[in-house]
Amino acid sequence: MNTIVITIIALCAIGIISAIILYFVAQKFKVEEDPRIDIVEGLLPGANCGGCGYPGCRGLAEAAVKADSLDNILCPVGGAESMKKIAAALGREVVEQAPKIAVVKCNGSCENRPRLNRYDGARSCAIEHSLYIGDTACAYGCLGCGDCVAACPFDAIHMSPATGLPEVSDEKCVACGACVKACPRNIIELRNKGPKDRRVFVSCVNKDKGAVARKACKVACIGCMKCAKECPFEAITVENNLAYIDYNKCRLCRKCVTVCPTGAIHEVNFPPRKVNPETPKTTVTANAKPAPVSQPVSSVPGNSETGEKKETV
């Protein structure tokens, strides 16, 4: 009996003494913090994924409270909704940002870009890039070691076994930009996701002269200017032998795709074009089924009229 009583009293005493010590320590070393940080942190998903580029949700909250505007701060998981709430809590404006997605701008698969040597170092694009040109003759293209895959916190990017190039999943990608930072050759770009995930982009970053680029890779951009001349919206610029489509100006008419001599310009998620240009009407009806679009959607290569209506979709 005595033992039990003594034990209880001793334990209670230890508990009380510890509590007092802890209280005084907490008082003494208290860190004054902006209470808004806690509020903002509460509004975030709390996954601590790091996709925003800050160390966890609290990191983003601290940055959001400290910064003057929320322009460059985005929680990729909560998206615009969370940011709106945060803006409201902090009494700030948030600019509505069009949803974006990571786009891999290289199409140098094994058929398109012959392998000239075998890289046998550590499996890291950064290391391969710093060592030499890479296993092809293209000094700009994808190295295929998967630094982007390792960097993705959302499992949204994977190496395709068929092409050896990374592929981004439309559903999973939240455009956090981790892969963009990880890629030593700056192949990946965050571009507008586009209506119905439809996008047109130049899938090449090779700045070499046309002949050199073409020799290294069949589908390289050779800077021939055809697309820039064709574009009705002046969305395409060619600099250093490389075309670039400004996604804010592009209206997805796809004319550039048809004129590109190397096929370096890609369109994604568009319904298939008519295969046979001689019988346009039948194919339109045939196409209407798989593509849930009311207008005639596809254009025959060279047929420049239908394309412009596209971005109303």
């Binding site: 000239l116 040597n117 046998d120 170092g121 550590a122 890291s124 950064a126 290391i127 710093s130 060592l131 030499y132 040109i133 890479g134 003759a137 000094a139 070499d208």
Partner: protein, 443 residues
């Protein structure tokens, strides 16, 4: 008890297949490609244009800036192009391409065999001649020599250390020139001593080159202040800091240059080039290259013109063997794998090594078992296992704390690792990134 550096070090198999082979003169090729950036620092700017006729020894690239070096034509002929050509790593670099016609030298170059001995020249004249001849560190670092010979204000050189260590396996170029051009090297050393105003020079040679040690010792007997120091065989003794410690017992502090302990280090090849530049007025247009490998038919040491395509040099040694998997510019520990064998030889190319699939094999990386072998062999006392992890997680501040910038990239850690981890690959990447971070901070 022979001298050596204190911590770490490894003993890779020496494989010096060509140490007995005399230096052979490689015939002048049909075409040379001379890169304008063969040194650390800014590339030279071309002073010739397409169609110009040039003679061997003529200046074709002018140094731009303080850390830069002149480039000379190594052949006589016509300039066919001034354009970008892929280097050994496949990257485009500015080059001058010359079609060879005959072998005519600029008149002031003394091509006779006679050894000039009048070293009694003023300091400025020696440095000027070195600078004009475009001499760079011949051990592979290719740092412009005249910069190394002009110590920053406030520091004073006390000792000149000549690196005849050649600790890389396979390579024998330095060994052969010490045997065959010993006297010229010693005269070059005297010139270097004059240039930095020191009374003492020590030539460090590893003990596996007994013949070179004895040869130079007998030659140096009559010269004042030159001493030959045999060293215990241990890699990486040729590292600047390691060599200084082995010879003088002084340790260069972290982040400092050798001049901080009063030492200037030069390669034996550089000493020879200095002799030729100052007393023979011959710019740096040729060098001795070891072409070797276990399956190479006629491995040997070749005196080659700078700009000779690597493929030609390999051909001279009997052509590439069937089983060649890797061609390496330099030694197996620190050399760079060559992607494009049509790229030219440069001032810093000390060897061409052809490895077969088995020798150059890299086994798959396994988990670190923390066996401490990398720590025990690191000559700088770093923790490679930790630096690799930090580099993988990109923790640059922590890498700086762990002294990654002291890493000399000798490769002892990767060589030793029983788990076949690519330690140096990641450390090198982390070091480059940390260096960038430090430079950005200073701005």
């Amino acid at each position: 008890m022979l001298k050596t550096f204190k911590i770490g070090g490894i003993h890779p198999p020496e494989n010096k297949l060509t140490s007995g082979g005399k230096i052979q003169k490689l015939p002048v090729p049909e075409q040379v490609i001379i890169p304008l950036g063969q040194h650390i620092g800014a590339p030279a700017s071309p002073v010739v244009k397409k169609g110009d006729a040039v003679k061997a020894g003529q200046l074709i690239g002018q140094a731009t800036g303080f850390v830069s070096a002149n480039v000379h034509s190594s052949v006589s002929g016509t300039v066919t192009a001034v354009e970008s050509r892929p280097d050994a790593a496949g990257l485009l670099k500015p080059c001058i391409v010359i079609q060879v016609e005959g072998d005519e030298w600029v008149p002031e170059v003394d091509l006779s065999e006679k050894i000039e001995r009048h070293t009694d020249l003023p300091k400025e004249e020696i440095i000027k001649a070195i600078s004009a001849a475009g001499i760079v560190g011949m051990g592979g670092a290719t740092f412009p020599t005249q910069v190394k010979l002009s110590p920053p204000p406030g520091s004073k050189a006390e000792i000149l250390i000549i690196n005849g260590v050649e600790c890389e396996p396979y390579l024998t170029a330095d060994h052969r020139i010490m045997l065959e051009r010993g006297e010229e090297i010693l005269i070059g050393v005297q010139l270097l001593m004059k240039a930095i105003e020191v009374k003492k020079a020590v030539i460090g040679i590893e003990n596996n080159k007994r013949d070179a040690i004895e040869h130079l010792q007998s030659l140096a007997a009559g010269m004042n202040g030159i001493e030959i120091c045999p060293l215990k065989v241990k890699y990486p003794q040729g590292g600047e800091k390691q060599l200084i410690q082995a010879i003088t017992k002084r340790a260069v502090p972290s982040g400092a240059l050798p001049i901080a302990v009063g030492a200037v280090v030069q390669n034996v090849g550089t000493a020879l080039a200095v002799y030729e530049a100052v007393l023979k007025r011959k710019p740096l247009v040729e060098r001795v290259v070891t072409v070797t490998g276990k399956s190479v038919k006629n491995p040997g040491n070749f005196l080659c013109r700078i700009g000779t395509p690597i493929a030609e040099v390999i051909k001279a040694a009997g052509g590439p063997p069937e089983d060649t998997a890797k061609v390496i510019g330099g030694g197996p520990m620190m050399g760079r794998a060559i992607f494009n064998i049509d790229s030219p030889l440069m001032k810093g190319s000390s060897g061409i090594l052809l490895l077969n699939e088995k020798e150059g094999e890299r086994k798959p990386c396994k988990n670190c078992i923390r066996c401490t072998k990398c720590v025990s062999v690191c000559p700088m006392g770093l923790e490679p296992y930790l630096l690799m992890k930090l580099s993988q997680y990109n923790l640059l501040e922590r890498m700086e704390e762990e002294k990654v910038m002291d890493c000399i990239e000798c490769g002892s850690c990767s060589f030793t690792c029983p788990a076949d981890r690519p330690l140096l690959d990641y450390i090198r990447l982390g070091k480059a990134r940390t260096g960038m971070m430090i430079r950005n901070r200073k701005k």
